[in-house]
Every structure is written in C-alpha cells, then in structure tokens.
Amino acid sequence: MTTQTPVADDAARLAAFEARIAADESIEPKDWMPERYRSQLIRMMSQHAHSEVVGMLPEGNWITRAPSLRRKMILLAKVQDEGGHGLYIYCGTETLGVDRQELVQQLLDGKAKYSSIFNYPTLSWADIGAIGWLVDGAAIVNQTMLAKASYGPYARAMVRICKEENFHKKQGYEFMVTLARGTPAQKAMAQESLNRWWWPSLMMFGPHDADSPNSDELKKWGVKRKSNDELRQRFVNLTIAQVKAIDLTVPDPDLRYDEASGDWITGPIDWDEFWRVVKGHGPCNSERLGARRKAHDEGRWVRDAAMAYAEKQQRNNRETTERQQ
C-alpha cells in the first residue's frame, strides 16, 4: 500500500518532467505535464494559429490587384499555405485537449491574441513583397527556435512550416529586389513600404526581455530557447545586409554598426505604439476581427448544412445496417 499523498505524487512527477526537459527529451501528448505548461502551450500555439489565419487578410487584400499572373499565383499559393499552417497548428493544439471551435470562439470574442503585425494595413502592392520579406522573415527567426521546442507536436509543426516560410521569405525578397531595380516609381513604392513595415517587424519579437512577462517560464520549460532581444538582433543583422544590397534604407537615423559585437544596433523602438496595437488600437484591429466575425456569421448556414447532411447520412447508414440484420 502506498502512503504517498497526491501532492507528493505531483511533486515527483514534476521533478521527473523537469528532468526530461533538462535532458532535451520531447514531451508528447500522452505524457504527464504540469497544467501550467499545458495552458501556456495552448495560449502560444493557438495565438500562432490565429495569426496564420488573420494574416490571410492583409495579403488577401491584394490578390485581385496583383499586376502579373505570375505574382498573382505566387501570392495565392502563399496565402493558401498560411491557411494550411493555421489548420496544422490548430490540429497540433488539439493534442493538448482543447478543440478548435473553442479556440476560434476565443479569437472571435476578442479574448485570444494574434500577431499585432496583422493589425497594420496593406496600402500598396509593394506591401506584399515587404510582408513576405520582413514578416515571414521575422517569423522564421522565431519559428526556427520553436522547432526545437520541448513539446513534440509543436516542434514538428514548426519544422514543416518553417520550410514554407523560408520559401515565402525568399519570394518576398525577390519581389522587393525586382521593385528596387525597376522603374523610379517602383523603387519609390518599395522604399515607402519598407518605411512603414520596418518598425512593426522589429516589434514582432515582443517587448525587451526585461518587460516580457511569459518569457522566463517558457524558457525554463524549453518552449522558448532564446530571448526576444536575441532573436530581434539576429533578424536585424540578417535584414540590414539585404536592405543594403538593394540600395534601400531603413527609417532609423540612429542605426549604427558595432564593430566589437558585429551587430547592427537600432535606435529606440516605440513601445507606446507596440502596446497601443496590442491593446486593440492599431489601425486595423477592428477591421481584422470584424472580417473574421463576418466570415464566421455568414458561413454559419453552410456549416449547419454540412452538419445536418452528415447526420442524415449517418441515420441512413444505421437504418440500412439494421434492415440487413
């Protein structure tokens, strides 16, 4: 007979769990995990899935206006990929014992977050290139780290998704190269777009490490492996080289190269703007959520029909089987 209390039991399981994390073992859906680990992962993964889906809107805004058939096809394929990422990550999140409907409802109720970058508008065709290059580029830096996350289904999803995001980023940069080497109007369009997307892209990595409330815990559990600032620096270094290669500039008068570290050091980020957008006052927060709600409401009759039809089919199948018995 065991004399262990449930509390001691939990403490033992927690110690075993933390040992597995320390040994870089992958945690799988059937494994025991602390509730806090589970809830943090649900929050992070569903935010990621929502971001993929909401992210279809700003880019979708330009599909009908793409100026060449080739670019139209590239953009359609990209947006289709993003929808696929959303679906894939929702499925991954469901392994933690929630269902997609519940998560989508949280988004529609404004209770779940998604990446703030998608609360900025796409105002010119060049924005499609800038998003592929900068937004997918920033996402890759983040997701390459998440591909080593301790939760197996998330890590595996990231490996697969990162391959496609890399492709999007390459296409986005190639798009900007074409504009930058194009007519003066095209080059001006590229520069104007870079001016608007530069700072919001840097904000995608989240607040400075000192102001990031979830970071320590996520690091402790091997979900995040690098800090926001480390990732942001990596992105800046990668991107400045590319900006220079196509003779554009970033809107930062304080940008300087630090010989000692080999880093490009940016001027201060406007955190007031960051928090304003996070709290719902970005230029497109209400449009984006409004578009998701409208699609959801207008699609209700379709989902109801699919369900009613499936039930009828089940009933018919049952009756056929009963008759045969």
Binding site: L76, A295, V302
Partner: protein, 251 residues
Amino acid sequence: MASPALFPALLRLGDDRLVLGHRTSEWCGHAPILEEDIALANISLDLIGQANLLLQYAGEVEGAGRDQDALAFSRDAMEYRNALLCELPKGDFGVTIARHFFHGLFSVLQWQALSSSKDATVAGIAAKALKESKYHVRHAGEWVIRLGDGTEESHRRAQAAVDQLWPYTGELFMQPTDEAELVADGLVADVSALEGPWRAQVDDVLRRATLTVPETAWMQRGGRVGVHTEHLGHLLAEMQSVARAHPGAQW
C-alpha cells in the same frame, strides 16, 4: 506553326479561367470554414494557372508581341471572351459552389475533348487541366448535395443559386461561328456536343441534392463575342489597376 485562327478560341478558353479564378480569389480569408478558404484558394490558383498557360499560348499564336500579362492586364472588357457565367459577382457560398459545379463539369468535358486536339500545346494544357477540373467538380458536387439536402435554409439558398445561374449556362454550349473550321480540323472541341453529357450529370447531382432544374427557356449570351454584363468592367478595373498605373514595368 499554329494557326492564327486559334487566337479567339484560346482567349475564350483562357478568359473563362482568368475571370472565374479572379472571382474565386475574392473569397480568400472570408470562407465559411478554414478548410474552404484553403480549397477555394487552391481552385483559384489552378484556374489562374490554366489561364496563364492558355493566354501565353494565345499571345504566341497571335504573333503581335503580346504575352499573357499584356493580354490579361491591357485588354478592355469588350476584348474579353469569357462566358458571362464566369464574371457574375461571387454571391454567397451557394452561388460560388453552384457556379463551380456548372462550369467545372463543362470544363471536364471540354478538357477531355481537347486532350486529343491536333494542336499539341492545346492537348498538353488540356491533359493537365483535366486533372484539376475533375477535383473542382468533385469538391463542388459534394457541396451542392450537402447544401441542397442539408437544412431548410441551405436548400433554399442552393435552389436560389441554381435558379440565378441557370440562364447563364446555355452560353457555354453555343459554338462560336468563327471556330467552325478549327473544329473541322480537330484543333478545338465542338462545345455544342458537350451539352447532352453535361445535362445528364447535372440532372443526376441536382436530383441527389433534392434540387430542381429551372424551366428557363431563354439563355443569356454575349461574352463569347465581347458583349458582357456590367460586372466585368468593375472586375477588370480592380484587376488591372496596378498594372495599368505602371505601363511597361516588370514585376
């Protein structure tokens, strides 16, 4: 060397897919469920991919130095040759699905016939497109049945979609007179011969969907000779806006 007489026939083939692909792309991010966002983007991509090949070949056949982008982005509405069915507004999900079903079924039959075209380029495009259109019809057909035999509301909406689109289906099977020689030479398909098999499959699916075929006698026409609905001008104004603002630019 391909016959220049193929040019209008290739425009009819290409414009159908370009305009319908455009309408389908308008759903992106706004579909009833995420799976349908993905499916509709995929269908749109297939259609625009087909248009790209067909218009590219049209430009070669014309021999006037126009490529697929010049044809897509520099022609006015009266120079477009798509069937009117393709340009009607996207409507609700029921209209979108019914249109994909009607046009997809027509496409499958058309690609089947064209895959033995004596023009090797046309035959090659048709063989590739046939696989895609078969998937589009399967997708749309399943939805027609679900919507028709789903709830009271979905039945009503599906029937309304069929009723609205039906008068635009006849044009698909009106053989343009300037293609008579091409048909005789085995280069393009006689679309009037496709109506029988098309109707048989439509009847079958609509019956399973508990929907009825409208008894409209008059069929709208005009797209094949460049006389369109008011909708196409708006569609092209949007589609061509960036391209036309930067004449001569490469993208």
